[in-house]
């Protein structure tokens, strides 16, 4: 109750003192500790932090795939579970996770089938997103006939095929080369601007985080917690060459410092 009032009125996702402990055979792991964060409608939030700091876990908590052991979280003012039931999420997993018995087209069609889109609509959307991720022509192939990057793109396409208000993307562009990555970054920004989606985005690339985000969340491990939240001063319209501006470099520098602080060496 008390927390609600703290949250901005526009908050789509609002976490208060979240904690999550995994019990394992040899002692428990504190994956999240005391995490508080507000994500507003239309925000593009990047999460960055050393491997194992709890980024994936946090995204999973938002999507109601993991239950926090302490603290509170609301999505659109309701619990993550209710939001999930309202099909508020598109989720791109860290591993592609395509169903091996479905073709690429079939995999992308899957959520559409589940959400009851018409056949024509399904076909239309599948071909649109395949085009977006440059996989036209691979619709009939099976996942194991695709390269690693192609599988990852298929999995992005799958999450973009339907209209979720909130996009949760876990290192979606990790296995892509710079050129495709730039291209998809642009496409994603465009989609975001056009549809006003709220996006939570995990990445390891500092330039990518800075280029895409309105807000950058830096995390550090053991226990996983938020060490810095940086509001980006960059305008919403971002040509690729904004990456050479001093503002950009300054933000990037701040992120790098935050990241470095979370590491043991140096």
């Amino acid at each position: 109750m008390q927390n609600k009032s703290l949250a901005s009125s526009e908050a789509v996702i609002s976490a208060r003192n979240l904690g999550l402990v995994f019990p394992t055979a040899d002692g428990s792991v504190e994956a999240l500790k005391d995490v508080s964060l507000d994500i507003n409608k239309g925000d593009f939030v990047s999460f960055i932090g050393p491997s194992g700091c709890g980024k994936t876990t946090f995204l999973r908590v938002m999507a109601d795939l993991e239950t926090p052991t302490s603290g509170e979280i609301t999505v659109n003012g309701v619990s993550p579970e209710e939001a999930r039931r309202a099909r508020a999420y598109g989720y791109v997993f860290q591993a592609a996770g395509l169903y091996p018995w479905r073709t690429i087209g079939g995999n992308i069609r899957l959520p559409l089938e589940i959400m009851g889109y018409s056949r024509a609509e399904q076909a239309e959307r599948v071909s649109r997103v395949l085009d977006l991720v440059e996989l036209s022509g691979f619709e009939k192939k099976f996942p194991w006939q695709l390269s690693g990057g192609m599988q990852q793109r298929a999995s992005i396409a799958r999450a973009l095929a339907f209209d979720a208000d909130i996009l949760l993307m876990d290192e979606p562009f990790g296995a892509l080369d710079e050129i495709v990555r730039d291209h998809l970054n642009e496409q994603l920004l465009e989609l975001w601007k056009r549809t006003e989606k709220t996006i939570a985005f995990v990445t390891h690339s500092i330039p990518e985080a800075v280029y895409l985000s309105t807000k950058i969340v830096v995390m550090s491990p053991r226990p996983g917690r938020i060490t810095d939240v940086i509001e980006s001063p960059l305008p919403r319209d971002r040509p690729l060459d904004i990456r050479d501006t001093p503002e950009f470099l300054e933000v990037a520098h701040r992120v790098r410092e935050g990241l470095r602080a979370g590491h043991a060496y140096d």
Partner: protein
């Protein structure tokens, strides 16, 4: 087709062992008969005798083959002396039982995977049900079903079902639970209904388990039908042939019924294997 030579080799080896065993097992009898006639058998005589006894302990392959030929090809298939007639009676009951068992096994597996109460309570009793020696309660089942007016194919099929649903339950519970965490999580993020989760994820992932279980269930089902034929009064079917053969010590008849039963089971299992290959291939899984 690549398997013709290997199969022939193995079959050849089995026949060689078989003929040898026939000599070995039937020799005491041959010696007894000879001794009563005050004769001593030479080796060729012994071999010839052991491969041609009327009621041998182990009939030689050719004796079984001749019997099979006589009863399969040599009789009109509507004749009670035709093995095809009896095989069909058994096969029809076991096919029906197999279908019923698969459906029941599937339904139970569904319940166990989706219903917590069933998950915790049913499985131990399903297991217990399988430890009941079917031969002991088959007569009671037949009697009860008879009393409520069911006779003929159905009681036998029920026993087939009883034996065949178990492998399906065990395999399908495992199969339906085999999707990994991420695959299930995806379904959750789309808020797929249970039906959708089932048809689009759990069912496809369980296919390798399903076919393996079905093969075992098919073999079990045939056993069930044969068991079911004993207490229906040994009227007809391969079970009745086995039984009658055993009462009159007609080992050749027993073996030919056995071979027939095995051939049926092997054919049915092979058919399922074929289905498996086609389906898994279409699913891109093989």
């Amino acid at each position: 087709m690549k398997s013709v030579l290997p199969v022939l080799t193995i079959v050849g080896a089995i026949f060689a062992i078989w003929y040898g065993a026939a000599v070995w097992l039937n020799a005491p009898w041959a010696h007894d008969v000879a001794a009563r006639a005050d004769r001593v058998l030479s080796l060729p005589e012994l071999v010839a005798d052991t491969w041609a006894q009327d009621k041998p302990k182990l009939p030689a392959p050719h004796q079984v083959a001749v019997e099979l030929w006589d009863t399969v090809v040599g009789k009109s298939i509507t004749s009670k002396r035709s093995l095809v007639y009896h095989a069909w009676i058994t096969l029809s009951a076991s096919l029906l039982g197999f279908v019923m068992g698969t459906v029941l096994g599937f339904a139970l597996a569904l319940g166990i995977v989706y219903n917590r109460v069933m998950d915790m309570s049913v499985m131990p009793w399903v297991i217990a049900s399988q430890t009941i020696p079917i031969l002991a309660i088959a007569p009671m089942i037949i009697v009860v079903l008879n009393a409520v007016g069911l006779s003929g194919l159905l009681p036998k099929a029920m026993i087939s079902m009883y034996l065949s649903f178990f492998p399906i339950v065990v395999g399908m519970v495992k199969g339906l639970r085999s999707p990994d965490g991420m695959q299930l999580d995806q379904m959750r993020t789309w808020n797929g209904s249970r039906m959708q989760e089932f048809f689009k994820l759990r069912l496809p992932s369980s296919m390798p388990y399903l076919f393996t279980s079905m093969k075992i269930a098919m073999a079990a089902s045939l056993v069930g039908a044969i068991v079911g034929e004993l207490p229906t009064g040994a009227v007809a079917g391969l079970g009745a042939r086995l039984l009658a053969g055993s009462y009159y010590g007609q080992t050749i008849q027993i073996w030919s019924a056995l071979i027939m039963a095995a051939a049926l089971a092997a054919a049915a299992v092979a058919l399922i294997g074929l289905m498996q290959r086609v389906v898994l291939k279409r699913m891109g899984l093989s």
